[in-house]
């Protein structure tokens, strides 16, 4: 393994590591635009120049592999001079329209200009004008004037998705990013080019002009779009409620996890947060009498639900859990079921249309915690439960999240079955046709409004954290289930999600030995699970270049 010296500090790195990565390990930042650890090396931007002893001139760090005995300087007068010249070069045709640019505040051109800029421009000629505000596809907007031609987006479409929609056209200072004729940037990973664009050339059409980035707060979370559980950062706007029509969740950004999603996130997952601020959100417990619905307090609702569970014999009560629920909720639910001896429980409701795995991250199973629900032992297929409901044996049904009338069963049949049930209880974040039929509606907090853990398809338990306060009176499910448990005469494991997770690690062997601390930011596999790791990106498979 080569051992080299960077800015006077010695480090040993694996053979093949480039100088940017070697310096990063020492905590030294080498400015760069075109280099991205997930993509091939292009050497386009020339900003990552460093001085290597015995080399006659500065060299780009991204395309220089660390060699034994190399002595590298990243902060000499000559390097600073080179950076300043290159920044000047990049800014010759840049419009400097930061006030209207969505990237402002998280723009590497701004950041490096402040650090390495030549503040007194020498250019006197008119800037080259290029197309502005060009939609490239459903999610991405291009401003060719702002582009510095780092080619990250082009390489992403070639090397990761393998779809190759983008290219660089024309020559010299008229070069610009564009779509190949007849193509649209509409692959399921298109919005990743917005994340990797170091400047404001590619912006997100969904996020465009909604909120300025400096109003956003970031929280580590997990995507709930499918069973993979990609690591994300949730960006929420709590400081300027008049922006984005009051929507609090502004966007999801991928968070690096080498084992799950690396730097990427699919578009289906990325835009799967609308329901959090939708008008259909349930905000108060509701009791629906023959006379109509009425808001009630939590105490009344919890007492009513506990009373219903106690009134009917256990064989007449059924519970339809959901793979949308976190592990903490599921163990709390299991405790409620055990207290009353309820056996009729399932979580797997057939969807109306069968989804398929895509060729990279997205899983056919569009729920975040099916593996967790299976491990915690909450039954499986709801077909038997539905048959029992149709036969009239079930008198009380507690549904979590599902809309039974929009599931893969004939709606008329479900409607008849629901009609025969005396007490329907619904717990969920948003109103749906099933909640309209429920006698008790208990509003649940959305995943960004609480903390917990999901178990992804390969058995990786990952934490998500609280980004927002719950809307209205909504409560996390573990909390409301804990209150019902107390109402039934049991004892709740605690008043924090972490207490319920501790309860889970004691109750289910697969989770034994875990804690929130040991899960960390990147999660841990349950006992007996084998990691399948990050799939090979479609653009890097042998068949892609055949």
């Amino acid at each position: 393994m080569p051992k080299l010296t960077i800015d006077g500090k010695e480090i040993e790195v694996e053979a093949g590591t480039n100088l940017i990565e070697a310096a990063r390990r020492l905590g030294i930042e080498v400015p760069h635009y075109c280099y991205h650890p997930g993509l091939s090396i292009a050497g386009q931007c020339r900003l990552c120049m460093v001085d290597i002893e015995k080399a006659p001139r500065p060299t780009i760090a991204c395309n220089t592999t660390a060699g034994d005995g190399m002595v590298v300087h990243t902060d000499t007068e000559r390097v600073r001079d080179t950076r300043r010249s290159i920044m000047e070069f990049h800014l010759i045709n840049h419009p400097l329209d930061c006030p209207v640019c969505d990237q402002a505040g998280e723009c590497w051109l701004q950041i490096y200009y402040m650090k390495h800029g030549l503040y007194d421009p020498r250019m006197v000629d008119e800037k080259v004008h290029k197309p502005k505000a060009v939609p490239l596809g459903p999610h991405v907007m291009l401003d060719a004037e702002r582009c510095i031609l780092c080619s990250r987006c082009v390489r992403f479409c070639d090397e990761i998705t393998g779809t190759g929609e983008l290219g660089i056209f024309h020559r010299g200072d008229h070069s610009e990013i564009g779509l190949f004729p007849g193509r649209d940037l509409e692959n399921n990973y298109s919005a990743n080019v917005v994340d990797i664009c170091p400047v404001g050339a590619l912006t997100d059409r969904d996020f465009r002009f909604q909120v300025r980035v400096w109003y956003l707060d970031t929280t580590k979370s997990i995507c709930t779009g499918c069973a993979r559980g990609c690591n994300v950062d949730v960006h929420v706007n709590r400081r300027r409620p008049h922006h984005a029509e009051g929507r609090r969740v502004a966007r999801l950004k991928p968070r690096f996890n080498a084992e799950v999603n690396a730097w990427w996130l699919c578009d289906i997952g990325r835009y799967h947060f609308d329901f959090v601020d939708a008008a259909t959100r349930l905000t108060a417990p509701v009791r629906r009498n023959p006379g109509g619905p009425a808001d009630v307090t939590w105490d009344e609702a919890v007492a009513g639900v506990a009373d219903a569970l106690r009134r009917y014999p256990p064989e007449q009560v059924a519970v339809l859990a959901s793979p949308q629920m976190a592990n903490e909720d599921l163990i709390a639910l299991r405790r409620v079921l055990e207290t009353r001896g309820i056996r009729e429980v399932a979580f797997d409701v057939p969807p109306t249309a069968l989804a398929k795995d895509d060729d990279f991250l997205l899983r056919a199973d569009r729920t975040p915690n099916r593996r967790g629900a299976t491990l915690i032992g909450l039954g499986g297929d709801a077909g038997g439960l539905m048959a029992a409901a149709r036969s009239g044996r079930i008198k009380c049904l507690w549904v979590f999240h599902h809309d039974l009338l929009a599931a893969g069963w004939p709606a008329a049949e479900v409607s008849r079955a629901l009609g025969r049930i005396e007490t329907v209880i619904f717990t969920g974040t948003n109103a749906n046709a099933t909640s309209e039929r429920a006698h008790w509606v208990l509003p649940a907090a959305a995943w960004v409004e609480r903390e917990g853990t999901f178990t992804n398809f390969e058995g990786r338990v990952q934490r998500f954290r609280t980004a927002l306060e719950p809307l209205g009176q909504a409560l996390p499910e573990w909390e409301l289930l804990g209150r019902v448990l107390v109402g039934l005469g049991g004892t709740a494991a605690g008043r924090r999600a972490e207490h319920w997770f501790r309860e889970l690690t004691g109750a289910v062997d697969a989770f034994a030995g875990m804690s929130y601390q040991s899960l960390g930011d990147l999660g841990r596999l349950v006992a007996g699970a084998t990691a399948s790791g990050l799939p090979t990106p479609p653009g890097q498979r042998a068949s892609a270049h055949a």
Partner: protein, 179 residues
């Protein structure tokens, strides 16, 4: 305090003499002024609101939004003023401008003058010189809080004051004003 002062009487008489002196001198001058002696002026009370002191050109008065030649706001909804505002009295909602060269414009631009502290940071922060505080208007009031919210349309209609600070636009009445 010496003995003379401790008796008060002498001080009271001295005070009355001073006040009376001013009173009669002013009265004499006012009478002379009223009789046509224009060089004789009494006490310098400015008869507001008929009479006004000239304002300094750098006085910060009611905001206005600067217009482009076609009458649309020069503002590009960059949120700099909203960000810098210490009173948080500016509310901007951005939208797409039909011209991609301009790209962004305010759909809504409200200033809550009930909260504004007239610090002028919004004018300082503006990269487009789109907001100024030079209307010369100081007398805006309302019976309701809602009536203190000035919208984009109201602020766009205002004109700058004259050189001696005299407002050229009438005091705007927000459409939301209830009383």
């Amino acid at each position: 305090m010496n003995l003379g002062q401790r008796f008060y009487l002498r001080e009271v008489v001295a005070g009355v003499a001073l006040t009376a002196g001013h009173f009669f001198r002013n009265m004499g001058k006012h009478i002379a002024h009223a009789l046509g002696r224009k060089d004789a002026r009494g006490a310098v009370t400015i008869q507001y609101p008929e009479e006004r002191r000239p304002y300094s050109p750098r006085l910060r008065t009611l905001h206005r939004l600067v217009r482009r030649e076609d009458g649309s706001p020069r503002c590009v909804a960059c949120m700099m003023c909203e960000t810098v505002c210490p009173a948080r009295c500016i509310y901007i909602v951005a939208t797409e401008h039909p011209n991609p060269e301009i790209e962004k414009m305010p759909e809504r631009f409200d200033i809550d003058l009930g909260k504004c502290v007239f610090c002028g940071y919004c004018v300082e922060a503006c990269p487009e010189d789109a907001i100024r505080m030079d209307t010369g208007i100081l007398e805006f009031s309302s019976y309701s809080r809602l009536g203190m919210i000035y919208t984009k349309e109201t602020l766009l209609a205002l004109e700058p004051a004259t050189a001696d600070g005299k407002p050229t636009s009438p005091v705007p009445i927000p459409a939301t004003r209830t009383v």
